[in-house]
Symmetry: C2
Subunit: 623 residues, 2 copies
């Protein structure tokens, strides 16, 4: 279902309902660009640490706009044993809603725009009909502005107690206005239109009248057809005044809700606490938080806390497909290829049907890169892989629940693109720290090309090169023993320099500490370090003001089994048995169970800081 500015309000209850009844969601975003940096390759070096990758994406990708958001909700129908889907394709655009509202600037990358254009993406729909949105700070400011305006308007706040200071050159003007009002109060007219005047003059009029006539008149600003603003004064009794105030209040409240717009959908997803599935979803998650919550924190750990606050359970299908037992049977993990592969043996495509009133997608005729469709097939991929895990059990489990222990190992681990030895960003704890004792850091003249590096290391057999920038790269050798030989032979070289990965990291850390000392001396930096976190508010999904990031204030969802964010931890063994029937694998299921164990072991390395090199995942070179 396509949702744009004009049909957003009328369909919002359908979105809310779909979110409420769903077992899980799949999401996908389309952006105006991917990398604002020199190149995508530089953005994704093969030996980035998760910290470095986060910083790069934060610095070079957050100025782009997420302008299409796909949401597909999945609800299991136990009677007919099929999943009922509701797919939404939202067009999103930060249309300024008033003269004082933020005028967002965003960057477009021509290659991304050109790619979307070639896929038939409708930019006019984004720019002409995109649903507006506000982040939490903007929403807070708008609320404050409204409150202030309301307090300023007559009647709502305490009347001004002392006469206003009127600048010399405005006295004549204000005197004339008062004269007019005195006449008006004597005559039979019900209302009086003042001449259009400046904002400053209107402010003076409001203040003067609030002091001189605290009761009995109603003052409001209207706009003429020519967009000129003028004040209208009317005689009202107390009851009528209150009615008008309430009417105005309700209207303003509605306008505020309209301005918050699409953010309300994200809040609803977040508040549900349900599983959110995405494919290669790190950028989607970062953009979603950045655009609809608040600017991303400088520190990766804060980002992890913030993310698990907003989305307590995330699952990345690209990571899942790159992990055992799937890694061995899936060659290409790009979304389109994955979707095709998961229809074939040994996989069994899930039974799905779109809900009544929702158009159904045909996976045979691809509509890739429409966010709603991509979300839909991401959900299909998840189901197919989850069910495959169920089929490995003895007896096989046909439909795997989103609360199954089987998929728990994949929770809150987001795929890291093109990192050679760290498959994912771990949102729930420290990241993997592979030793990288076979890796060298090489600096060289900017004229050097890949072939020069191959030539330099030609004595070392197979090497892998991972460019950092024009004048440096990581080179990984096949055997760690070769590392010291390479460093030693390079000692007298003039044009290039080789150091071990450990040396490189050590020096970088030193540099960083020196830098940090410097910046801490500068008040500007310190100031920037204190992000403007929104305070506690009446709506449910906000961060508390006590810590930098507090616990999410979740409204309990009756559809969920517990009020804790991490329900799985509370599931008893017998419950698990019931769900998955894998407590005691039968002989014929033993081989399959072994596969499962291998997978769990592989991923569990992330729970503790691994000291040795992590299991090397195969990371295909496609998005």
């Amino acid at each position: 279902m396509e949702i744009i500015r004009s049909n957003f309000k009328i369909n919002l209850h359908k979105v809310y309902q779909a979110i409420e009844e769903a077992d899980f969601f799949a999401i996908d975003g389309e952006f105006s660009g991917i990398s604002d940096g020199p190149s995508v390759t530089a953005l994704t070096s093969g030996f980035d640490t998760p910290e470095e990758r986060y910083q790069k994406l934060k610095k070079h990708s957050m100025d782009f706009l997420l302008f299409q958001f796909g949401l597909c909700t999945f609800k299991y129908d136990h009677i007919d044993s099929k999943h009922i889907t509701k797919s939404f394709n939202f067009y999103v655009f930060p249309k300024p809603f008033s003269r004082s509202s933020p005028d967002v600037k965003f960057v477009c990358q021509s290659s991304s725009i050109d790619f979307l254009a070639s896929q038939g993406f409708d930019f006019n729909k984004v720019f002409c009909s995109g649903i507006p949105y506000l982040n939490q700070e903007e929403e807070r400011q708008l609320r404050e502005q409204l409150d202030e305006k309301r307090a300023q308007a007559n009647g709502a706040g305490a009347p001004t107690k002392c006469p206003v200071t009127i600048p010399e050159d405005q006295r004549k003007f204000i005197d004339q206005v008062i004269e007019k009002i005195e006449d008006f109060l004597q005559n039979e007219e019900k209302s009086l239109d003042l001449e259009p005047c400046t904002g400053f003059q209107r402010k003076l009029i409001y203040q003067t009248l609030s002091w001189k006539y605290p009761k009995g008149i109603h003052v409001e600003t209207l706009e003429t057809e020519k967009k000129e603003r003028h004040i209208v004064i009317s005689k009202v009794d107390e009851e009528e005044r209150k009615r008008r105030e309430q009417e105005k209040y309700a209207k303003e409240q509605e306008e505020l809700n309209d301005a918050v717009g699409f953010s309300r959908v994200i809040h609803a997803i977040a508040n549900s606490g349900k599983l959110v599935v995405g494919h290669n979803m790190l950028l989607d998650v970062m953009h979603t938080i950045h655009q609809f919550y608040c600017p991303l924190p400088a520190d990766l750990n804060e980002f992890k806390e913030m993310t698990t606050c907003v989305f307590p359970r995330l699952l990345d299908t690209k990571l899942m497909a790159s992990t055992q037992p799937f890694k061995d049977i899936i060659n290409n993990t790009s979304l389109a290829e994955l979707e095709k592969r998961l229809k074939e043996t040994p996989f069994d495509p899930p039974k799905v049907e779109s809900a009544e009133g929702f158009p159904s997608y045909d996976t045979a005729s691809e509509q890739l890169h429409e966010a709603g469709y991509d979300a839909y097939i991401t959900g299909l991929c998840f189901l197919s892989m989850a069910n495959y895990l169920g089929s490995l059990l003895g007896p096989p489990k046909v439909c795997v629940s989103t609360r199954s222990k089987l998929i728990e190992p994949f929770f809150n681990k987001l795929f890291l693109m093109r990192v050679m030895d760290i498959p994912y960003l771990n949102l729930e704890g420290p990241d993997l720290q592979p030793k990288r004792d076979h890796v060298l850091h090489v600096t060289f003249p900017k004229e050097w090309k890949t072939s020069d590096l191959y030539q330099l290391f030609s004595a070392f057999g197979n090497i892998q090169i991972s460019w950092i920038d024009d004048t440096s790269a990581f080179v990984s050798l096949s055997q760690p023993e070769q590392v010291q030989i390479a460093v030693n032979t390079s000692k007298y070289a003039e044009s290039y320099r080789i150091q071990t990965y450990a040396e490189y990291v050590g020096r970088k850390r030193e540099d960083k500490q020196v830098k940090r000392k410097w910046t801490e001396d500068s008040w500007k930096e310190v100031d920037r370090k204190q992000p403007n976190m929104p305070g506690p508010r009446s709506h449910t999904n906000s961060f508390t003001a006590t810590g930098m990031i507090g616990k999410r204030n979740l409204s309990p969802d009756p559809g969920e089994s517990g009020s804790e964010d991490r329900e799985l931890e509370g599931i008893s063994d017998s419950e698990l048995e019931q769900i998955d029937s894998c407590a005691d694998p039968l002989p014929e299921g033993r081989k399959k169970a072994k596969k499962l164990k291998r997978m769990k072991k592989e991923l569990s390395l992330a729970g503790t800081v691994a000291d040795g090199p992590a299991v090397l995942f195969e990371v295909p070179d496609t998005w």
Copy 2:
């Protein structure tokens, strides 16, 4: 006529022809945003110097994209006494033309995008069908890349003289390739397809074959349907080899021209040296040079030189309409209002007709903010005003030539938006320097609002406030004598500070010198100060490499009266008499002639550095 990517090449000759036969052009651009800064108001302070304004626009506006360019050519038909117009509306987009081409990032301002969307602007046409372009540096790089590639390919350059160093792990691969080729040379086959391989391997193959087989075979890289690149080798005699080379060269040349794309239209306009008319055209000119020639220089004087090199004669209709004799009879100089006003007495709308095959615009049903239409009515406005000047002569001149002395005072002076006392940027010399001895510079706490300033200066009667930023503003008093009183009374103030304009400028200059000393110590800055100016090239419109900006290398245009850029200076008095018949005004024309003299005097102040305050132009607060 709408010109997009698909019909650009087929219509380019029409564009060239229209440019060649025209008397003058009108242009207009539509951008993805106006101000990247905190706000448009901050961007245009009322007391900006031209230098400051240039720096602000350069810093805050050049990241936006000029994505629609309107060109309307005007040619006078002496027989039917009417102007024949050809209007072109170009959609422009920096589509990357290959994997190694620049991936342009541009900024969008949501308010601008929203405004264009509300006017029915077609963004899909821009992004899906925009004509690509290159600036001169990118064009130079592309040419170099092509030359290099050509030299690398076999036959074109000198064959490699020594054996290539093959890395250990590639030796087996290369040996196999050579073996295959040896077989191929013995057999009857005409061509041999090698397996797809990496770019590095292809390079090794090219180098090896160029050394081993300098003659007799032709090597080229082709792409399979799956986008895999593989090498094809064919047996050729010398003649066939040359033919193939030439074919390839011609194809590459065409691809290069396609990539230069829309820039060729701008080059043609520039090379013609003809009058280019625009409305409030400073941003149009800056964007055009930035996007299709080279990044704007840091220094305003360099920008002036560069601009007069590219466009030797510019005329801004907004400046014209804000100057005597028009100032007194034109209230609103926004393009739409100006166009309407210039249809009424005492003006006489020019007779225009669109050329055959060109759709005609109807000014009754506005199509504002389509660049082609805006260019068209800008041209109409110019003609109407020029003819009005002619009507003031005795005897009246019905049609004023673009070379008339009457309009010369308006050449190369670009309207400055919202500057109180400097109406234009003077491209041909130093700018006006009004004394501003009635102006104060005030700094204050950021809580202050306009009303606080009014209150502070309430004893001084009428004041004008021009905000600089949150904590400072210029305040102009009605009488210069009050300035010292204000400064003196503020001496003991704690919350705010007042200084004279002269003091403010002096301090700012000192700061700048200190800053410059600092940055000159840093090699990075010095490096950046040497812009990468393109060297002399074979195509006509480029800057020479000798000076920072040399004289434009114009190809003489037979349609022009002289080969000098500034023809008007070479026109004799008698010629002038013939053109305008205003050498000896008849008695009844004397009053009108006086008006003309006043206008000329007003504008001629710009020729020398004015010491006293310049004539105050009325600058309406609309774009």
